[in-house]
């Protein structure tokens, strides 16, 4: 009985759903040390110690794995490894790893395709490949409804089960949400910081007013240096606090009143964003302030567990932040925190999400 997962990212920096799925599968089948293959992203150190239950194989490539040649290298080597192990259950993460299915010398009993990103992002070859590969898999999992609909409609995935699993985290084991009066009165931003893509410029705009915001994450984008410089020069209410690894960030997050989540909707992946930071905040009882990305809008409206921006503009952002600070320390805020707990207990936790997968797994592999 063997389970192998092929990841499209070096794990431990984001995409917590990949190790979460592997761990859940391991628990479900009661096996030990499933293999997870990951690319060697030079900018990301191995974080294997965070996942003691997984046997992680990091595949080095001569070119960067996200380049055209590096991807080929990664797939070739990963396929060799998978063909050697011959797993009964294979998890393929994203279109990036999908070519591996065409290189297998055997047919695994169950293939799960975890569609973390839309194929159109990778070009015409991947579009055709996603269509052709539909008969080689047993289950497709998506993190967002609209992405699922696009995939089913465009690539003809009607004959296999298609599931939406929110990018949820399980609530941390070390306790409950901190009461409102004990929180630090600040707003948290966590994740990629980039002008344009995640609206880093909004935090640099003096019109934001006396709002206390702390930003954690890597500064990216073509103007990376300039952005970093501008952030480090900031004196006042907005602070750039650098990059924290996932466990430390979890500890820090609970102290905050709100968590901001927004992406520029100019790309399909970003419009239909489903950031794990959104779910992690809810799980920690930190109500999110979110841009109206469809999934987040739906969940906030359903559970009333956060504050929704009217649109992606700066004025909406400012209005939402002001509303948030006005609500803090009122009964309405306490209710929002309570709703976060309810949402996490009812639906927005990884265990509840994995329950959806169980009926589609073979009884024995």
């Amino acid at each position: 009985m063997k389970i192998v997962g092929v990841s499209d990212v070096s794990i431990g920096f984001g995409s917590p759903q990949i190790p979460a799925l592997m761990n859940s599968l391991t628990e479900h089948y009661g096996i030990e040390n499933p293999v997870l293959i990951e690319p060697d992203q030079p900018e990301r150190d191995p974080k294997h110690y965070l996942f003691p239950n997984l046997q992680i194989k990091r595949i080095p490539t001569i070119f960067h794995p996200y380049g055209e040649f590096g991807r080929v290298e990664y797939i070739v080597q990963a396929a060799t490894e998978v063909n050697r192990v011959r797993p009964n259950l294979l998890v393929i993460c994203g279109s990036f790893c999908l070519p591996l299915l065409f290189k297998l010398h055997f047919r695994p009993q169950c293939v799960i395709y975890y569609v973390l990103e839309t194929a159109s992002h990778y070009g015409p070859f991947d579009i055709e490949m996603n269509h052709q590969a539909r008969t080689l898999m047993n289950l497709a999992i998506y993190p967002e409804e609209h992405r699922a609909l696009t995939q089913i409609d465009t690539y003809g995935y009607e004959q296999i089960p298609n599931l939406v699993l929110y990018n949820c985290a399980n609530p941390s084991k070390d306790g409950h949400a901190i009461p409102a009066r004990k929180r630090n009165g600040r707003i948290l931003y966590q994740g990629t910081i980039e002008e344009g893509r995640t609206y880093a410029e909004y935090f640099l705009n003096p019109a934001i007013g006396p709002t206390l915001v702390d930003l954690y994450g890597l500064i990216e984008g073509p103007n990376r240096k300039e952005t970093l410089e501008r952030f480090t020069k900031l004196v006042g209410t907005v602070r750039y606090c650098g990059y924290l690894d996932s466990p430390t960030l979890t500890q820090v997050r609970k102290e905050y009143c709100y968590s901001i989540v927004m992406w520029n909707p100019n790309k399909e992946n970003q419009l239909y964003a489903c950031p794990n930071k959104f779910f992690e905040s809810i799980a920690d009882g930190v109500p999110p302030i979110s841009a109206p990305h469809p999934q987040m809008k739906m969940l906030i409206e359903r559970y009333k567990c956060g504050i929704l921006m009217d649109d992606w503009s700066f004025s909406s952002f400012r209005a939402a932040v002001r509303k948030a600070m006005k609500t803090w320390r009122t009964p309405a805020y306490a209710q929002m925190v309570e709703n976060c707990k309810r949402a996490t207990a009812e639906e927005l936790n990884w265990d509840a999400q994995f329950e959806k997968v169980k009926p589609f797994l073979p009884a024995r592999v």
Binding site: I62, F63, E68, F69, V72, E73, I75, V76, A79, P99, L100, F102, K103, F125, E128, M129, Q132, A133, T135, L136, E145, A148, L149, T150, I152, D153, G156, Y157, E158, P161, N162, L163, V164, R302, A332, E346, E347, E355, K356, V357, K358, P359, F360
Partner: protein
Amino acid sequence: MAKFILIDHSIEGFAGHHYEYAVHVLEAAHSAGYEEVVLGANKAFTGDHTAPWKIHPVYEYDFWGRTPCRRRRRKLWRTRVKSGPSAWFRLKCSFKFSRIGYYWSLRVWPQQVLRLHSLNPPTPAWGLIIFPLLYLRAIVRAVGLFGLLFLGPFRRLLYPSQPTGRYKHLREVLWNLGQALLYPLVVYRNHRHSLHTWITARRRSRAFARDTRRFFDSVRLEDGDIVFFPTVSELDMMGLYSYLQREPNSRKASWHLLFRRNIFPGRHTEYKLTMDDQDDLRPLRNAFQQFRRSLREHKVYFYTDTEALTAQYNRLHASEFHTLPIPINKLFRNHHRNPQPGKSLRVVFLGDARREKGYPYLPRLVQDLWEDCVQTGKLEFRLQSNFNFGTPKGEAEVILARSQLEAFPKDKVIVLREPLTTHAYRDLLLSGDISLLLYDGENYYVRSSGILVESLAAGIPVIVPAGSWMSDQFREEIYRYHSSLLGQRRMTKTILGDELKWRNSGNAKINPMRQKQLMFGSEAGRSFCWLRLPRRTSHMLVCFRIVQPQSRTYVLVHSEQINSDNQSLTKVVSIVGGAPVEATHSLIVPVAKGAKKIWLGFKNAYNDNITTVSKIEIQFLSPEGHSAAKIPLSAVGCCYSTPDEIPELLREMVDHYSHYRKTAVAFSHKFVEKHSTTRLVRILANSNEKNTATSFPAQESK
């Protein structure tokens, strides 16, 4: 006695709504004493039966223009041929993601290969084989280009950008000749879609005529025979026209055509726009007129199955349409079953899994009710759908919803994918305690639903969209229940509409309440007022009558409850109105704990027209005794204004199930009487006995 012939070309087997419909009508005809009862079905029809009628499977196309026989063969062929990815793609992918493919993609950067691989011991030396291959390719290409030199003058023709005087004329001649030869292809390329539609329409129409002729070759027509088509399209009608024109014997029988699809999109206020602005309906109108003019000696009658649909077709002024009752299987009548105490209430969803039928709402609905109703054993779901999973293009939401539903535990949510036999279908429907019809209200504004009819006949409470034909079926029962409450409950206060201070959101200066009549328009012309809630009020009952317009109108009543801190507690949106217009329309709003005042707004639900209502009365009901227990808000079933309300309505039904069941059972007797199959056969027979072409009296008398 004469024969009764029912022809439905969409019947493919002993299942589905088409077959159900036919069975009920044929049974009624048999009971009415017709000595020979015959069913015409699709060619794909298979299976044995013991019913006392003959089945002739002759029709190639079904109502939707599909050919089920060919489809089955095609499907089989596809499964055989397309069992995996194409060999070509597999080869391409294997090459691209291989070591050779890797070196091939790097061929233009040999320096990169040599530089980056210099420190990489596992680099296979054979990877460098790519360079001799590239060398070989270059030589082949060079030889090929050299060969082109020998093409001489033709080479110039191949490069029209460099014409010289000598060859220019030749090129033009060849170009024109080529264009002339390829003209049909050019036309085809430019008008491919229209051509296909035209060819398909002609083919379908001719096939219907041919198959009808074939059918009546084996079933001889006699005087007084009734031929009933329960579902026909306009193309089928023209096929029938061609048959009737050529076959003199067809004058002996009477022909009854039932149309069940709407011809106008949207609601009746939009019909005029469709008539004025579009030519789409002209061919249909011409078709009906041609039918009428050319077949004066034939007895042809046109029907629809709802009054609203009849009104739509009659707007064409081409032929007169009448309304037929919707046949109800006698097995559904008087089959009232009370739920067993302590067992979960079973919610059933039956019918095609299509977007317009609300299938995509189901996963979210189950999830919303999971914690308090499903997991606690108050509710369970049985969802049966077929048909659509084989043709999923454009219905991705349905595919996704199916998987989501199948992910729920099987003891709580059962998804049945296969078509059911008549008995299995009946058993499933009758096993339900609540029937869900989450249809698109606009699409079903005039269209009927067989499942609703059966559910109501069986006394099963239903949940349906407001502002549709479905909600209109039991709207009066709801009003009757509301008025009955006035006699049963104590009222804390009654306010008449003209006692309130009304405002209009469009123009703050005008008072929309004039001469005890309230006027309002759409969103911009909403009329509203503020109400202070009396103490000890559990519910607010709002009643009014629609004065203008006299046609079917729906009013959206919006209420928002505010507490002493001016915070919004609840918002309730209800759509009331519809047929009959002269009724007193009403709705109940439960009062939230802590609410001090209510904002009450009226607007037109679906259009911008000015609507006037009168006799507005707002009654505040006090709680029953000392308890503040909620009272049922509706009767027979519940109507939702937006899909978000469905979980709350299901909770409402669970809380007051005995009330809903009781009122649904009481209503079922009346409903069954109205939609009796015997009545349908009698209507067809009576038309026949008149023995005149009564289908166009309105036009002819003029």
